[in-house]
Every structure is written in structure tokens, then in C-alpha cells.
């Protein structure tokens, strides 16, 4: 039997996380023309930071020793702290979000540094795609970080101390949506400004932009730093929603899910990025739910894979009939237009 409340909470949480990811790629590629094929790496970094903070720093904030951070005693300890110590839990969670954003921004710059010096932007795409897999494989093969392939459990909902699972999940979903809304407004402010204009000029014609005095390498690095920071923020929120961090959750297909959201919604339109995230969340959650429901009635279809078929069909239809996405690109809205009307 489907639990509507639980379904809505799950939908809201995933929608918020996907929205942040979609907006981050839309800034990078839609506005800035930087094809980030390693989006999942930065999403993963946020989740890894969440795992590290929960397993190492949360006990310290609560005044307890860090014992067995990857083992069952560590899991018990952090669940106990999250269930009974609201201030420490919220402080650690806030720290997670800040650290994840900083780490995402830092690695966004590091990863893109060599590739940005190559004129052809698709080299950047390849470098980032490979970097994403390298990050996952290193973390998977190095258990001291987040438990290697076995992962790390006990990355609790930061509102677990409410001691009502539904209430805690509802509050957390509300927080994710609030953060997603803030990211949306931030992105709107960023693109409807001279910076947004500059991004589009670099995207449309880098050589012309350079000949008009713009430091295009700097602009490209800036947008990748912002996009990577946002993706890592989404990763940290995701880890605390799922409660478990495993490198195997961050395979390249996740990057392409984000691309689908942006292409589907409409490039260089933040509302389009949100619309794409909504469509993707619906497909994602509907197929996941049906997979569980139909799985119990032993149907011959493995419903999880229907998701890929649906996404593929949708993409083909969109590219045939609506190449510019559900909500096409609009000019930047700066006060200059108001001046010209006068």
C-alpha cells in the first residue's frame, strides 16, 4: 500500500536536491557553455564530506571520542547523538553544508585548471568525466575515508532528535526545498546581471569575448567553481536524506541524469532547470515506487529499468519537437532595459 505522506516527502526531498544540481549545470553549460561531464564527482564530494563530518566531527562537537568511525560502534554513537543532542547535530550539519560547498568549489577549480587552458571546451568535458570516475574509484578503494565499497551508515537526518520519523523527514524536506529556493534566487540574481551577460558572451563566442577585454579563462573557472560548490551542497543534502554514503551511488549515469534535466527543461533558463528537475523527479520516484509495488507481485518486468526507457523516449521526443526545452532561453534581465525604455 502506498503511503502518500512518505511519497510526498520523498518527492519534495529529491525534487529539491535535483533542482540544485540542475541549476548548477545550467549555470555552467546553459549560461557559461562549459560542458561539465563530471557533475557527479562534485555531488559525490558533498556526500563524502557529510560522511566524514558525521563520523569524525559530530562526536567531537558532542564532546565524545571518535571511536570506530566506520564500524558499528561509530554508527550507534552518531545515531545516539543525532537522536538526543539537537544543538550539536544542527551545528555539525551546518558545518557539513559549509565544508561541502567549500570543498566542491576548491575541487571545481582544481579539476578544471588544466582543461580550461585548452581552447576546445569538449576537452574539459572529457577531463571532468574521467575525473569523476577517478574520484569514485579512489574513494571506493580507500576504506579509511568513508568505508570504501562498503560505504558509511548513520549519516542521520539532522532533525532526528524530533523523535518522530515522519515529522523529522518533513522538516528536512522543507529545509531542502528552502535551500533549493535560495539557490534558485541566487542563480537568478547571478544570471540577470552583468555577470550573466558576460557568461553568455563567453558561451556564444569566446574569441570575440576575449577580444573585447574579457578574461575568459577566469570567467570559465568562476562558473565552474560556483557550479561545483552547488553540486557538492546537493550531495551533502542527499547524504543526510539517504542516511548512507557509498561511492557506488555516484556513477557517471547520475551526471547524465542532470544533463537530461537541463536539456529537457531548457538551457539558460533557471525556471527550465527547475521544470526539468520536476519531470526527472516524477519519473525517478514513480518508477522507483512502481518497482517496489510490482516487485512484490512478481511481475516479469524489472521496473527500475523502465526509468531509462522513459527518459530515453522523452529525450528523443524533446529533441525532435522542442529542441530548446520546455522553457526556452530568455535574454538577461538587467536594469539596462528599463533605462532604454525611458
Amino acid at each position: 500500500m502506498i503511503n502518500i505522506t512518505s511519497l510526498l516527502i520523498t518527492f519534495a526531498s529529491f525534487f529539491g536536491i535535483y533542482t540544485i544540481l540542475s541549476i548548477s549545470l545550467n549555470l555552467e553549460y546553459g549560461y557559461g557553455g562549459q560542458p561539465n561531464f563530471g557533475k557527479v564527482a562534485f555531488f559525490a564530494m558533498g556526500a563524502f564530506v557529510a560522511g566524514i563530518v558525521a563520523s569524525r566531527i559530530l562526536p567531537l562537537i558532542a564532546g565524545m571520542p571518535v571511536t570506530d568511525p566506520l564500524g558499528p560502534r561509530g554508527v550507534e554513537m552518531r545515531i545516539a547523538i543525532s537522536s538526543t543532542r539537537p544543538i550539536e547535530t544542527v551545528v555539525a550539519f551546518t558545518l557539513t553544508l559549509i565544508l561541502a560547498t567549500v570543498v566542491g568549489a576548491f575541487f571545481g577549480y582544481i579539476f578544471s585548471y588544466p582543461a580550461l587552458r585548452i581552447r576546445e571546451e569538449w576537452f574539459l568535458a572529457m577531463v571532468l568525466l574521467v575525473s569523476g570516475e577517478i574520484v569514485r574509484i579512489i574513494v571506493r578503494s580507500y576504506p579509511p575515508m568513508v568505508g570504501g565499497y562498503q560505504g558509511l551508515a548513520g549519516v542521520s537526518n539532522p532533525f532526528r532528535w524530533v523523535n518522530d520519523a515522519t515529522k523529522a523527514s518533513t522538516i528536512y524536506a522543507g529545509l531542502i526545498l528552502t535551500i533549493a529556493l535560495a539557490v534558485y534566487f541566487l542563480a537568478e540574481r547571478l544570471v540577470n546581471s552583468p555577470f550573466g551577460r558576460l557568461l553568455k558572451s563567453v558561451r556564444d563566442d569566446p574569441a570575440a569575448s576575449m577580444s573585447l577585454g574579457k578574461d575568459i579563462q577566469l570567467v570559465r573557472a568562476q562558473v565552474l567553481i560556483i557550479g561545483s560548490a552547488l553540486a557538492a551542497l546537493a550531495g551533502a543534502l542527499y547524504a543526510h536524506y539517504i542516511g548512507f554514503v557509498t561511492p557506488d551511488d555516484f556513477v557517471p549515469i547520475r551526471t547524465f541524469d542532470v544533463w537530461v534535466m537541463v536539456v529537457l527543461g531548457g538551457m539558460a533558463n533557471n525556471k527550465g532547470a527547475v521544470a526539468g528537475a520536476a519531470v526527472m523527479t516524477t519519473i525517478d520516484r514513480a518508477t522507483a515506487m512502481l518497482a517496489v509495488e510490482l516487485g512484490t507481485s512478481s511481475t516479469f518486468i524489472e521496473f527500475n529499468y523502465v526509468r531509462y526507457v522513459l527518459v530515453g523516449i522523452l529525450m528523443i521526443v524533446m529533441l525532435m519537437f522542442r529542441q530548446r526545452g520546455l522553457l526556452p532561453e530568455k535574454p538577461v534581465k538587467t536594469p539596462a532595459y528599463e533605462v532604454m525604455k525611458d
Partner: protein, 246 residues
């Protein structure tokens, strides 16, 4: 510039070229196709790096600087084919070149109050510029939707928003009607008077260039073949032989 050399594999596109463009002048650069004129402009504007030689602007060396740094010193190049941002509006195209825009910094961009007054001033200036180009009514239109002649005008006009000290114009009248070609030159002369800028122009429409230019350089096979006032060039027998063909 002195002794500038640039080769592409076995081809010496620019061969020990030395020339001076006088401040405030309208200097022309002519020569047959493939004589190295555009390569020379690319070297001056930082798009290409010379193999050897030195380029000076206002007494400072600029060879080896990237294009955006050359631009910031006030030396601006306009391309042969209009290099407009076709996914952007006419207004956004002219709002790109101004230097030191506070709102271009991502940390300032979300805080409108930091850059609002500067943006308004720049928009007023853009409005005056578009008025001068008779394109004010098109400000909201996509740059891809205007005519070829308007694109050319917008390309030339746009460079003025960057407050240049010297403009390098690569065939500013290519592909436009003869009447419009004269209009473009008239407009450039007005600009020169009003804004005190130096113009260095590659032009194939010799009848128009010779009417307006103060001084002309003729390039042939990567070298400066001749230089002088338009009258002197017209009377130069070597130029007539290798370039004008009569």
C-alpha cells in the same frame, strides 16, 4: 612596431614589418589578399603572437600580452566578419565591452545595489550610441535578427563602448552598400573628433579609403611595399604595378 615577423609553417605571413601609426590619424593598410594584413592586426591585438619583433602602444610594449590585456590598454580590434554574440540582444552586445564592470564579478552580481548606478550610466551611454547608429529601436532584438549592414555597424559601434584609444578595423565596409560604406567612414571621422581616437583600417574599398585616410601603408607578401599619403600612393608606380594592376 619594429621588425615584426610571423610565420605559419613554411609561409612567412609577416616579414620584418616596421610601421608607425600617428596618434589621432586615420591610417589605412591595404594590400592584395594574403599579403599579411589581418595577421598583422591579430599580432597587434594579441590574438597571434609574433615570432620576433616588438609592438609598442603609447610607449609601452604590448607584444605577448593576451587580447583582453591589450583591450584594457585601449587598443580594440573589430573583425572582418561581424563577431556579434548572436544569442544575445543588440543591447547586451553593446553592454559587453565596457571595462571594470562591477557586476561582472560573481561576488558582486547578486547584490544589485553595488553595480546598479554603473549599469544605468552604461545603459545611457549605450542608448546614445545606438541612437547614433539609428538602432535604438532594435535594442531588444536578437543580434541574429538584424541585417548584415546593421551587424557591421553594431560591431564597429560596439567597440566604442570599450573607450578605445585606438581602433583596428578589419574591412569595416565589407559587404555593405557603397552609400553605407561612406556613411561608416563619415561616422568614424566623427568618432575620431569626438572621442579623440586613432583609427587603423584595413580596407579593400580604395576609393573610399583614399578619400578619408591621412596616411596609407601598402603590404605585399608580408612586407611593407610602400607608405605615404593617399596622393603619394596613387602615384607610386610599384604599387600600381603589383597591387592596383595598372
Amino acid at each position: 612596431m619594429t621588425d615584426v615577423v610571423k610565420s605559419f609553417e613554411n609561409l612567412r605571413a609577416v616579414d620584418k614589418v616596421s610601421l608607425t601609426v600617428k596618434r589621432g590619424s586615420l591610417t589605412g593598410l591595404i594590400g592584395p589578399n594574403g599579403s599579411g594584413k589581418s595577421t598583422l592586426f591579430n599580432i597587434v591585438s594579441g590574438i597571434e603572437r609574433a615570432d620576433s619583433g616588438r609592438v609598442f602602444f603609447s610607449g609601452e610594449r604590448i607584444d605577448g600580452l593576451p587580447p583582453h590585456r591589450v583591450f584594457r590598454r585601449g587598443l580594440v580590434k573589430s573583425s572582418q566578419d561581424p563577431k556579434l554574440f548572436l544569442g544575445m540582444t543588440v543591447l547586451d552586445n553593446v553592454m559587453i565591452p565596457p571595462k571594470n564592470q562591477l557586476g561582472e564579478k560573481p561576488y558582486n552580481a547578486p547584490i544589485r545595489s553595488i553595480w546598479l548606478s554603473q549599469e544605468i550610466e552604461l545603459a545611457k551611454k549605450a542608448g546614445r550610441l545606438l541612437n547614433g547608429l539609428a538602432m535604438r529601436d532594435l535594442f531588444k532584438q536578437s543580434a541574429s535578427e538584424i541585417s548584415g549592414g546593421q551587424m557591421k555597424l553594431l560591431e564597429v559601434g560596439r567597440t566604442l563602448m570599450g573607450e578605445p584609444k585606438m581602433l583596428l578595423l578589419d574591412e569595416p565596409t565589407a559587404g555593405v552598400a557603397p552609400i553605407l560604406a561612406r556613411e561608416i567612414f563619415e561616422q568614424m571621422l566623427r568618432m575620431r573628433e569626438e572621442l579623440d581616437i586613432t583609427l587603423f583600417i584595413i580596407e579593400h574599398r580604395l576609393e573610399v579609403l583614399f578619400e578619408y585616410a591621412d596616411y596609407i601603408y601598402v603590404m605585399h607578401r608580408g612586407r611593407i611595399l610602400a607608405e605615404g599619403t593617399p596622393g603619394e600612393i596613387l602615384e607610386n608606380a610599384t604599387v600600381a604595378e603589383v597591387y592596383l594592376g595598372s
